[in-house]
């Protein structure tokens, strides 16, 4: 049986940073108005951002929220039918 990830929200922040001219964590943090530690926690999947922060991060990369964050609803029994 596959082990469930503790955080159902996965993200591509690290990938997107590198795709955007190797943007540093500090640069992204300054753009979205959070601390670098929060970006580190987000990338590590240790923190789930607020909806507002999720939108800010997506806007910083010029993409939609679902291009940055993916909700993994497999085996969680919470998916809409």
């Amino acid at each position: 049986m596959a082990r469930k990830s503790p955080n159902p929200l996965e993200n591509r922040i690290r990938r997107l940073r590198f795709d955007h001219g190797e943007m540093t964590q500090q640069q992204l943090a300054e753009r979205v108005g959070v601390t670098r530690q929060t970006i580190i926690a987000l990338e590590a999947g240790k923190y789930t951002p607020s909806l507002l922060l999720a939108f800010r991060i997506a806007r910083a990369f010029g993409v939609g929220v679902e291009d940055v964050f993916q909700y993994d609803d497999a085996d969680r029994g919470t998916a809409a039918n």
Binding site: E30, T35, S50
Partner: protein, 131 residues
């Protein structure tokens, strides 16, 4: 290390320093006079310096707010449990018809602040992962 972590480490250091001064003075000047070590708690007044903004950088964000909120809840719970346990201890120490000395009442707020800030700091550091 984030500003909140520095803030928590500083508060924990102030509590430990204050306690160690009181405990080291205890055998020399007695329990009542040893409480002078509690003046070190005045260093809590420097706390706002940790959360001032630096060159437009964000030092406190939504994650810090969430961590702080959880820490306050933990500290508040421990504080009230401690208060009720302390009340029970007072009855055991001084007897049901006894009188609590004014000197004990005087230092009570300092020890209450110490417990609150120590628990809050430890809870904060645990949530950040001690790093």
């Amino acid at each position: 290390m984030s500003a909140m972590q520095k803030f928590a480490w500083f508060n924990l250091a102030v509590v430990l320093l204050s306690l160690s001064v009181v405990l080291s003075l205890l055998p020399i000047v007695g329990a009542q006079r040893a409480q002078v070590g509690l003046v070190i708690l005045g260093l809590f007044g420097l706390d706002p310096l940790f959360l001032r903004s630096k060159r437009g950088r964000t030092v406190f964000d939504e994650r810090d707010t969430l961590i702080q909120r959880r820490s306050v809840i933990v500290a508040y719970t421990i504080f009230w449990l401690g208060l009720f346990a302390g009340s029970g201890l007072a009855a055991l120490s001084y007897g049901l018809d006894g009188a609590v000395p004014v000197s004990v009442i005087m230092v009570f707020p300092a020890y209450a602040a110490m417990v609150l800030l120590a628990v809050m700091s430890v809870a904060t550091l645990v949530q950040y992962g001690w790093r």
